[in-house]
Symmetry: C2
Subunit: 221 residues, 2 copies
């Protein structure tokens, strides 16, 4: 059975790609990061989603002691009700986050003999992070071809970004068909008992569910 590493954050997009990868016939190996984010809610949900989906999963703890992001530093304020214009890079940007996550996933994939890495990056309804854009993934794919054993042997692990050019509403419609347990996903940048409803991530999620005409079960918790 072909194998894929799935970067699972516990959010809506990554849960969808886990189910997408499974629907394509991959045996999935979820990679979940504890990277010092403000709260453990998304990590816990990621593990639960992986178990619910009957997927292998691996938690990797890393530290980014230099900070540089409001997602890492509790003394910084998470921006709320921001004008998400896709131009300004907000304080929630974590320097090189996807670059780091992909590097681990490439290592994991090569050690497993997996042929694919799935990442739920999105460049439509997103926060303007540079490492969520198609030109970045194309370039990074090239680095894996040139810097890894599998790449040199002509079978570089392939990075799949199936949600890259989809709206949040389109993603949700795909996920509903695949029976993604959206009630288990956590998107809010803050770690409260309920989603704040005001951070970029909450705003994009709500906008997506509204546009898809789907009720967000997670909000009702």
């Amino acid at each position: 059975m072909k194998k894929a590493v799935v970067l699972l954050s516990g959010g809506l997009d990554s849960a969808t790609i886990l189910y997408l990868a499974k629907s394509k016939g991959y045996k999935t190996y979820c990679l979940v990061f504890d990277y010092g984010q403000r709260h453990r809610k998304e990590i816990n949900q990621a593990k639960r989603i992986a178990e619910y989906a009957k997927s292998e999963h691996c938690l990797v703890k890393i530290a980014l002691p230099w900070g540089g992001s409001s997602l890492l530093d509790k003394s910084k304020k998470i921006p709320t009700n921001r004008n998400i214009d896709h131009k300004e890079i907000p304080s929630t940007y974590v320097p090189a986050r996807n670059i780091i996550f992909l590097s681990f996933s490439a290592s994991y994939a090569e050690a497993l003999g997996a042929e694919a890495v799935f990442i739920g990056a999105n460049a439509v309804d997103y926060s303007g992070y540079p490492d969520c854009r198609p030109e970045f993934f194309d370039s990074y794919q090239d680095s894996l071809k040139k810097g890894m054993k599998q790449g040199v042997e002509g079978k570089a692990v392939k990075i799949f970004t199936p949600l890259l050019n989809k709206t949040k509403a389109q993603i949700i419609k795909i996920g509903v068909k695949l029976k993604v347990p959206y009630h288990m996903t956590w998107s809010c940048y803050k770690g409260g008992s309920r989603p704040c409803g005001e951070c970029d991530s909450c705003v994009l999620r709500q906008k997506g569910f509204d546009a898809a005409g789907v009720v967000d079960a997670a909000i009702k918790k």
Copy 2:
């Protein structure tokens, strides 16, 4: 003062680039990894070298629980007296190691506002690792331009590989001029009380000192 992140392993090459970066006028921030290698000797030496060089340093602990290398897995044998023909990738290859190290160094550099990352990779007297070759670094540089805030703003952190095309002997001659404390460096893949003299790393080191006509002070310890 311009800033540079220096990937410091505790070995000969990375100690040389630390001194090279300092000689170019950079304030240096060494990044040392505990990545589950077989022994802590090189980590301890890296910290000592950074302190000796009066450089800032940061230790980052990561785990690669999937293994895939004899440098990570003590049940695997480190190859000795191997024919280093630069074609076969040996078992000491760690999947995506430099890719992972560079991703952290890029994050550190951006958070610091550093303009440079120095890595002591070498593609002449080396073990055949794909992530030590010029084509890999060119590609990875492009990924940092496209996937990071500094890159999007036209001031991507620059990866410097000043030793890439040098022989080990040339590296040692540069280091002797810069007064690199080679007696503090540790190259051996094993963690014995003395270098084994037989692994790739010991063989390349000895060959380099011999060709440079320099006595290796570390061996006499």
